[in-house]
Every structure is written in structure tokens, then in C-alpha cells.
Assembly symmetry: C2
Homo-oligomer: 324 residues x 2
């Protein structure tokens, strides 16, 4: 099986044929039309086996997740997804694995009208890099910077599910496992926030780590109400509301576990109601979890007003856990 056969057999048949793709897979490069009045939004993310997903992860989940983590970045910019390229490094060309992987990736691509326009397959340790491209109306993109003192801090969906699934391994419920394996990029939510949110980021490395990036762009701080963090019913089945000091995972996982791929964003108080309505219309839950302050750093507080010092800041590559 050579490179061309792999691309042809597994990735060409499916997909969306977008009208703005002048040439897709099968030439030296793809040729694409960007509509007038729009900016191009580009991001790239790599998943390495054993680092970003456990080695026994189903191929369909790897395919889904490789695209989903990139669509999540597009969502954080408020972009409409359009095209993707796939760089797939494989130890061998197992047809069954490839079929499942392609199915997982292409099913998500189809849902968001993304065309796979190019790729490269190489032999080596399992590594998947997707580069995704989207479109946003000129000047309308959400950015990491832009938050202002007094803005409310929101997150979409629920936090800590993926981290809990990783921790529980084969004891994770189906819901928790699906949250880890099949993250849902918040595309509609991101678009609904354009023109209303002042700043946004997606939560890939944990709320504290990613909120810190957002805050660092403007040298701001935030208060996070850790009892208000949204937790799923599946999460609460494992970690009930704690008494004082009990169950650190109840706080730590929503604060610091990565892989949830929810959006974290800031909204001026005057826009809160409008934003909540727009997100409800987009079918996406959102929860106010805190407020932007002018004191750099993140201060975690409990409902009773007492402070909380997180144990870990979030997922860091190459290394050392840092206290935040």
C-alpha cells in the first residue's frame, strides 16, 4: 500500500465537496477560494499516541479527536470551519485501523462542512497532525486579548469530565469516556459570541492554564468561584458535592484537567443576558464562573468566601507541573 493508495482509499471517497475548493487532494497542493470580506483562520494541533491519548484508544476516537481539537481552536476564534489537511504518521498500514480512523475524522468533518483538502502519510510512531482552516468576517474574530476589568468569566458545557475519564480508565462511565474520546467543538457557540464576548480561548490544557493565557494577554487577573464550576451529572455521580476540605478532585479536575475543549470567554455585564440568550439559541449551555480583576493572577474562592489554593495548574508539555 503506498501513500497515494492510502489517501485515495480511505480519505477521498467520503467527504463534502465544497464549492470553494478549486483543487483538493491529488495535486501538489490544494487550491482554495477565500470569499471577499473574510479573514482566514488557521491552526494546527498534534496528537501523539501515549501522550495525548492512551495507546488503546479506538482509531475512530483518534480520528475524531485529531480534527476536534483543531475545530475547537477555530471555535475559540468565532470562525466557521472550512478546510483541513491531515499529516498521519503510522507504524504500519493496518486497513481496519485506517478505516475506523478515517470514519471518525470524516464523520466530524461532514457535520461541520469541512473538506479534507490535503495530507501526507508517513511511516513512523503514531502521530496525527491536523491543520484546520476557517473563515470569519473581517474584524469579527474573537481573540485571547480584549477582556476588561469587571467582565464576567464564562465557560461552556461542563468541566473535568475528560480528566475524570482518564483517571478512572476502564471504570469510567460511557458519558465520561465519550467526553474524553469524542470532544465536541463549540463552533456554534463561538460564532454566537462574535461581537458580544470581549475575549475567548478554548480549554485544552485545563481552565487555570488556559484562563491564565487569556489574562496574560492583557495583564489582568480573575476571581474564579470554584463551587460554581459546571460539573456533569456523570461527574457528580463520582464526586458528590464535598464537605469542607473533602474530595479535592471535585475542585481539581474542573480547574486543572485538560481535554475538555470547552470555551472560556469574557462578557461585559451589560451583555450577559444577550450572550446567555444567544448561547441558549445555539444549543450550548454556559455558566458564569467569575470576574475579571486588575490584580494579575487567578484567585479561587469557595461559595462561603474562603480562598482555595489549587494543587496543579494544568497540563504542561515537557514537564514540570507548576503551581499557579
Amino acid at each position: 500500500v503506498d501513500e497515494f493508495d492510502i489517501i485515495r482509499r480511505y480519505f477521498m471517497p467520503a467527504v463534502t465537496r465544497r464549492a470553494d475548493v478549486v483543487a483538493g487532494i491529488g495535486d501538489d497542493a490544494a487550491l482554495l477560494s477565500v470569499p471577499a470580506g473574510h479573514e482566514l483562520v488557521v491552526c494546527t494541533d498534534t496528537l501523539v499516541s501515549g501522550v495525548h491519548f492512551p495507546r488503546h484508544t479506538p482509531a475512530a476516537a483518534i480520528g475524531h479527536k485529531a480534527l476536534a481539537v483543531n475545530l475547537s481552536d477555530l471555535a475559540a476564534m468565532g470562525a466557521q470551519p472550512a478546510w483541513a489537511t491531515l499529516a498521519l504518521t503510522l507504524p504500519d498500514a493496518d486497513p481496519r485501523w485506517l478505516e475506523d480512523f478515517a470514519h471518525g475524522l470524516l464523520a466530524l468533518a461532514q457535520r461541520f462542512d469541512v473538506e479534507l483538502v490535503g495530507g501526507d502519510t508517513t511511516r513512523g510512531p503514531l502521530t496525527v497532525t491536523v491543520t484546520a482552516q476557517g473563515l470569519v468576517r473581517h474584524g469579527m474574530a474573537l481573540r485571547r486579548r480584549g477582556a476588561r476589568v469587571g467582565d464576567r468569566v464564562y465557560v461552556t458545557g461542563t468541566l473535568g469530565d475528560a480528566g475524570l475519564a482518564l483517571r478512572l480508565q476502564e471504570r469510567a462511565s460511557a458519558h465520561l469516556q465519550a467526553r474524553l474520546d469524542y470532544p465536541e467543538p463549540r463552533i456554534e457557540a463561538g460564532q454566537a459570541l462574535c461581537g458580544f464576548a470581549t475575549a475567548a480561548i478554548d480549554i485544552s490544557d485545563g481552565l487555570l492554564a488556559d484562563l491564565a493565557h487569556l489574562l496574560a494577554s492583557d495583564r489582568l487577573g480573575a476571581i474564579v468561584e470554584i463551587d460554581a464550576l459546571p460539573r456533569s451529572a456523570a461527574f457528580l455521580e463520582v464526586h458528590e458535592t464535598p464537605g469542607a476540605g473533602a474530595q479535592p478532585a471535585y475542585y481539581e479536575l474542573p480547574l486543572s484537567a485538560g481535554d475538555d475543549y470547552e470555551l472560556c470567554f469574557t462578557v461585559p455585564p451589560a451583555h450577559s443576558t444577550a450572550v446567555e440568550q444567544r448561547l441558549e439559541h445555539a444549543g450550548c449551555a454556559a455558566t458564569a464562573i467569575g470576574e475579571i480583576t486588575d490584580t494579575p493572577g487567578i484567585r479561587c474562592v469557595r461559595a462561603n468566601g474562603s480562598g482555595y489554593t489549587p494543587v496543579a495548574r494544568g497540563f504542561l508539555h515537557f514537564g514540570e507541573d507548576q503551581h499557579g
Copy 2:
């Protein structure tokens, strides 16, 4: 050293700041402006240590080559390079290695006015994926398809140098080694061919393999005059013009070795002189090596008119050498 530090320290300081980059490294995604009247050209290529380059390859060469192989794809489309993203998977974060790698990549980027607009660094076996983006005037891109019977087949530069360097290893001359480690993307040549060449492809897997892809797009064939293949002085120092039947490497390396990253393209006879002049003006040598025929397949002939059957077709991933 975390991911943000790596990107910030090694890849942010250098570079070109292009006016069409609204947001580069440091947000969830890059924001880019595509000028009116242009199409976007996108390609992606991965280099795996031990597969696409020997393990002892200098870091600067790996950085150069990771971008160069992508710019070569843009060249084959006649595009002007604009932006790139880098997905870098590393076993560890060795500062000296990263500095050299970044230097190799960014020096080439600067020469072609390419801005690095995003990236991802992950831990794992050394793998480098670059996605490059370029621009081409609407409808002017070179494609793989479009060749017609009677068109002349050309290649830029010289063939077989990189393959010879791989074969000679530490006995390779500096010129041959540089051809393997620092391939030169034929950007100016590709642009000079727009509107004149009928089809083009870059030679990454060997002339026979890549010409076969070009021909397959239109179900055509070609005669290749194997004594006319351009060979460098450094190549000829090792493999002199052979007598009958001697030195198969004299033919095999230019026909089948990969990694030269020259362009192969087709030109109607009426445009030959114009194309040769345009390429000379672009500072790029080009050699006519054959002709398009309507009989599918590639027929190799020697200067004395006798046929030649190549031993190998070119570099195939996952696999079996196939006779072409």
C-alpha cells in the same frame, strides 16, 4: 520549558512580519488576509527521523528541509509562499538543538518572505510537520494535469544528487550533501512557468514516480531520454558517463532517487523558447528530457535509441518497490 516557552523563545523573535498577518503566533489560531483576485494554495508534509532524514542530520538541515519540501509543493503550483505552521514533536527540549532547528527553518522562511503564524510542540519521537500556504492569481495555478501529446518534458536543476549523497553517506562531497540536506525550493521557476507550462509537479519521490503521477492525471505517457537527464559536476565526479551497460547508478539515481525537489513540467513546443528564456531570467537551469505521448507509461531510451528498463520506480512509503 513548556510549549509556550519553546514557541516564544525559538520561533517568535526572528521572522518576517507580513502586513497580511492580522494575528500570528500567540492566539488560538492565526488570522490572515487573502488579497482579492487570489487563490489560497495549501500543502502539508511530514519528515520523520530515520525515515525522511538520517538520524545524525544536523538540526539546522532538518529545520530547513521541513519548510523546503513544502515550499517545493507551492513552487510546483506556481504560488508565492506566504505563511506556515509548524507541528514539532520532540523526544526532549534540547535548547541547542531547538536553536539550530529554528535557525535553519527561519532563515529559509525569511528568504521567501514566509511568516510562521502558528505551531504546536509536543513530546514524542522526532517528527516535523509543516503546513505551508501561498497565494496565486485566480486561475493561474500550475496543476499536475494539463499536459498534451507532443509537449516537451523538462526538469529544473540536476537529478540524483540527493540520492547519491544518501548512498555515499560520509563520503559524499559537500555539494552532494548540501543537495540532500538543504534542498532549494524552485519558487521563482514555478512562478515563471505560470501561463506557459501545461502541467507541473515537484520531484520528491524520484522522477519516474512523480512524472507517473503527472501522466496519470491525463492518462498519457512519456518518452524519457535518459542520457539527457541533467547531472551535476559533483555527480559526474562519482559516476562518469558510462559505456554500454556500465554503471547503472548513472541512470538509476537521476531516474528513481527521491529528495531532489526539482520541478518536472511540460511545455508545448511553441512555448519552449519562451520558457527557457523565462527560467534563465529566473536564474534556474532547465533541461528538456523527453516528450509526452499518448501511450500510457514511461519509456526510457538511451541516446543511441536503445530502450532501458529502470530497476526501481522511486521511493514508496510503506513499501514494496514496484517496477514502473
